[in-house]
């Protein structure tokens, strides 16, 4: 092998404290080095030409450049060498600027170190093999899971960039929690008014395939090349035939058989229903657990009244398969319920607040529905027990959140804001009412957020009391609230007409299951984990899978939307080329020596190691070995260091390469 060594002076940057001429001279005597030269600015055009020329003149096979950090110019020199016909992976960099000249003043010892580093690079390059970047084709079709505001935003952004999107929502309608909100902080604009147009846009978008009442069942493959199985649950209504006239809903006799999920249990719905009037798609679904026909075999009134013959009692779940290039997970959150915990649940309920026994103790979403003009009380403040207007209302913040003893250590981030909103909405509706807010801290970091909270206190007269409530109980039609004002140091008891609990935003119950299907990590609370908390907040750790909105952590609407657009941008970056090029630094298994212990599989954080069956000519299974999926492997090399039989090696950083470097540095 003929190797060329090129020592850069970087003007005075290297030249001043490293004897470049001397170094180049002594490197010439390293076995295998055919030419060794120095130059003032190696990265400049003349410098690069010098390298190219030397390659051509000497018929070099490999190149070592001793210059600045590889993070600066590795790419530059790989490209230059490639221009002269050398495989880019036969170029190694010795960092003699950041790691030598800039940190050492002593010329002799600095020069010695520079020589050592070059020798180490030379020995490594001798063991390098020509490699080609990995090219994977990209299916330019995105899957968005979850149709809340985050999923809607991501789907629209990607679709508007011209790519196809499959949007999967598990409920009968898209819209998520935002569709339940009355007005939104910090502007108090109507939630439905800004959301509905976007829902409709999704429905009408030619590039978006909307699958509601559907769930992702399996995901195979890797970045650019996923295969996704989606279960479309039986609606009992044929989508294509239904025109959303609503006759079936009107005539269904089971008017009060089920609590409306959308109204948070404060109203009823029949067996056949759409969650709310603006639902998208406006196609009803039959809840088979409630429908008289499914229970007794009689009724079918809906079928009779349906002019479009759209009811299909025999409909079954269908499984769709989709080819997908990138995935956005936007499955949102759930609100913590204070009811008694289910057996086996790691979370404690709120016994001291009555485990949800008292009718006039409601949660934030129930308040949203009560405040909403289209809600069960048509926007009037009427407490659930007797429909009276509450004159004294107490809001309690941090219920569930920041409560280690209930299992949730984190702050839910939005409840300070929505409580302030609730107090304001209440005061706007009940002018002679009193609103008290029990809080621990007010967290209102955001544009116009603090000003919003102050307005609630200063203009609308909400009374804020710093302290956690110890107990709630019902006495004579009042909810007795036992608190302490920790600022004044006095106990406070309030006989409230209604109490609203700002309960924690928690992960979807099924989120861990979905994360496992996708092969992405989730935190101990069930929120999907980002790849890096600062620099890769929308990437999951699996290539091609991105996160948006409250599925990742408690978030408000502006944050959810920004994250969704960011995730969409990441998808578009991926889709902007037909093929994906990746450094070939990936692990590779030697099937002949692999003993199939799968320790490598256990340590791989990317699920990149798969099982592969080796069969003989007759199809008889000989053994099962590890196989590294190129698309998933990120090249960390952990498997390599773990393998007891040394059967999996990280290309570019193989054992021989590192050994060669070690030996070169420590010549006895």
């Amino acid at each position: 092998m003929k190797i060329g060594v090129f020592v850069c002076q970087c003007g005075e940057n290297i030249g001043k404290t490293v004897d470049c001429v001397g170094v180049a001279k002594s490197c010439a005597s390293i076995p295998g080095v055919a030419v060794s030269m120095e130059y003032k600015y190696m990265c400049s055009d003349p410098g690069q030409n010098l390298v190219k020329q030397a390659i051509a003149d000497n018929g070099l096979d490999a190149v070592v450049v001793a210059a600045c950090s590889p993070h600066m110019h590795e790419k530059t020199f790989r490209k230059a060498a490639n221009g002269a016909g050398i495989n880019p992976f036969l170029v190694e960099i010795a960092n003699i600027r950041e790691h030598v000249s800039w940190i050492h003043d002593d010329v002799p010892s600095g020069s010695l170190k520079a020589t050592d580093l070059i020798r180490s690079a030379v020995e490594k390059v001798k063991n390098n093999a020509p490699l080609t970047t990995i090219k994977v084709p990209v299916t330019k079709r995105a899957l968005v899971i979850g149709g809340g505001i985050s999923g809607i935003q991501a789907a629209l952004d990607i679709a508007n960039a011209g790519y196809e999107v499959v949007l999967v929502e598990k409920e009968p309608s898209i819209g998520g929690h935002m569709s339940q909100l009355s007005e939104t902080f910090p502007t108090l604009d109507c939630s439905q008014c800004i959301l509905t147009p976007r829902m409709v846009e999704v429905y009408q978008h030619p590039k978006i395939k909307l699958l509601t009442y559907s769930e992702v069942e399996a995901v195979d493959g890797f970045i650019g090349n996923f295969k996704v199985k989606i279960r479309k649950k039986a609606r009992s209504v044929i989508d294509e035939d239904c025109n959303g006239c609503g006759m079936c809903i009107q005539k269904c006799p089971t008017k009060k058989k089920a609590y409306s999920e959308f109204e948070e249990g404060m109203a009823f719905r029949p067996a056949i229903y759409v969650p709310f009037p603006q639902a998208v798609p406006n196609i009803p679904v039959i809840d088979r657990s409630v429908c008289t026909f499914y229970k007794t075999g009689k009724c079918k009134i809906c079928e009779t009244v349906c002019g479009r013959k759209a009811i299909d009692f025999m409909q079954e779940d269908t499984i769709l398969e989709e080819e997908i290039g990138a995935i956005v997970v936007a499955t949102g959150f759930k609100l913590y319920k204070i009811t008694k915990p289910e057996p086996g649940s790691p979370y404690e309920g709120y016994g001291e607040y009555g485990y949800g026994e008292y009718k006039d103790v409601i949660d934030g979403l129930q308040f949203e529905r009560m405040a909403s003009a289209s809600g069960p009380t048509a926007g009037e403040m009427k407490r659930p027990s007797d429909g009276k207007e509450p004159k004294k209302i107490v809001f309690i913040q941090c219920v569930g959140s920041r409560d280690e003893s209930k299992g949730f250590s984190y702050c839910s981030k939005i409840c300070c804001m929505y409580t302030a909103k609730h107090a304001m909405l209440y005061k706007h509706k009940v002018h002679d009412g009193e609103a008290y807010v029990f809080y621990m801290d007010i967290r209102s970091g955001g544009k116009m957020y603090e000003e919003f909270v102050r307005r609630g206190i200063e203009e609308d007269g909400a009374k804020y009391i710093r302290g956690r409530v110890s107990r709630l109980y019902e006495e004579n039609g009042k909810i007795i609230v036992k608190g302490e004002d920790t600022l004044a140091g006095v106990p406070i008891t309030i006989d409230a007409d209604m109490v609203v609990l700002a309960t924690a935003m928690v992960a979807q119950k099924e989120a861990p299951k979905l994360a496992q299907i996708l092969g992405i990590p989730y935190d101990k609370h069930g929120f999907m984990s980002e790849s890096h908390p600062k620099l890769k907040p929308v990437e999951s750790s699996s290539g091609g899978i991105f996160l948006a909105g409250a599925a990742n952590a408690p978030k408000d609407i502006p944050e959810s939307v920004s994250m969704a657009s960011a995730a969409a941008a990441k998808v578009m970056i991926l889709f902007s080329s037909d093929i994906l090029e990746r450094e070939p630094v990936i692990a590779q298994v030697d099937e002949s020596t692999c003993v199939g212990c799968f320790y490598c599989q256990k340590v791989c954080a990317y699920n990149a190691v798969e099982r592969k069956e080796i069969k003989d000519r007759n199809g008889k299974l000989i053994k099962v070995v590890a196989y590294v999926n190129e698309g998933l492997c990120q090249g960390c090399g952990t498997c390599n260091a773990t393998c007891p039989s040394k059967s999996v090696e990280l290309i570019g950083f193989k054992d021989e390469q590192i050994f060669a470097q070690i030996c070169a540095l420590n010549e006895i």
Binding site: G351, E352, Y473, N476
Partner: protein, 294 residues
Amino acid sequence: MKTGYYPGCSLEGTGKEFDISLKRVLKDLDVELEEVDDWSCCGASSAHGVNHVLSLALPARNLTQAQNQGLTNIMAPCAACYNRLLSTQSSLMKDKVVKAEVEDLLEDKINGNLEIINVIEYFQKIGVDKIIEKKKIDLSWLNVACYYGCLLVRLGDAGKFDDEEQPTSMEDIVAATGAKPIDWNFKTECCGAAHSISHTEIVESLTKKILDNAMAHDADVIVLACPMCHSNLDMRQLNIKKHHPDQKEIPVLYLTELIGMALGIDGEELGMDKHFINTRQLLDVQQQKKVRKV
């Protein structure tokens, strides 16, 4: 195997009727207890309040007594004793250093295998069916407020036998007697038992709130399972009446007394004549029902 019995000091004194009624009722239910040999005081809140190691050593002595007697479980009817015995065993098993210190004082070893139960758990074990089966008197005219107090359910890390905030186990037993357990708000509110003698003014105020809430929810009687709570809720009504002449009285019964009433046992045999608040009226109705039934 018999259940070990740790009556505790109060059941020899102020809580005598708890002991009397318990033993009387068990006779009718055909179950027997075996008293822990030469048991000593558990130190209650006094030792606990001022001295950590002693607060463990005193109950621990009873654990070793029971162990040495070959018992596998101890039933302690007094909520304070129950709490002390249970948490002592649990904390000694968790903290080896303190365990060694205590064992040094005791000159004996703790094995940590005793099952420590309270009177409610004990009746759960005997089975509510047995009460229903042996029931002789209709108590459906009686509204009962079940009072747990604080120590019975707040066991910290030591264990859990019922919900800390909304317990219902006593209600289940009361329902088996035929009486009607009512819903009320102060069943786990503290009556200040620790200050029973030292700060009567506090105890009076706390007790009054509890009594008033029970009566506001139409309770005819308060039923409980702790001699300390009993002396507060029963005896203190006299003091309260001194300061609040209009205060209504409400009889306070031990759970065992209520069970005894349902089994048709005479009030005197249950020690119900020892209360400060008269139980005569209750017993009269009980007698009428008895006569009518015959």
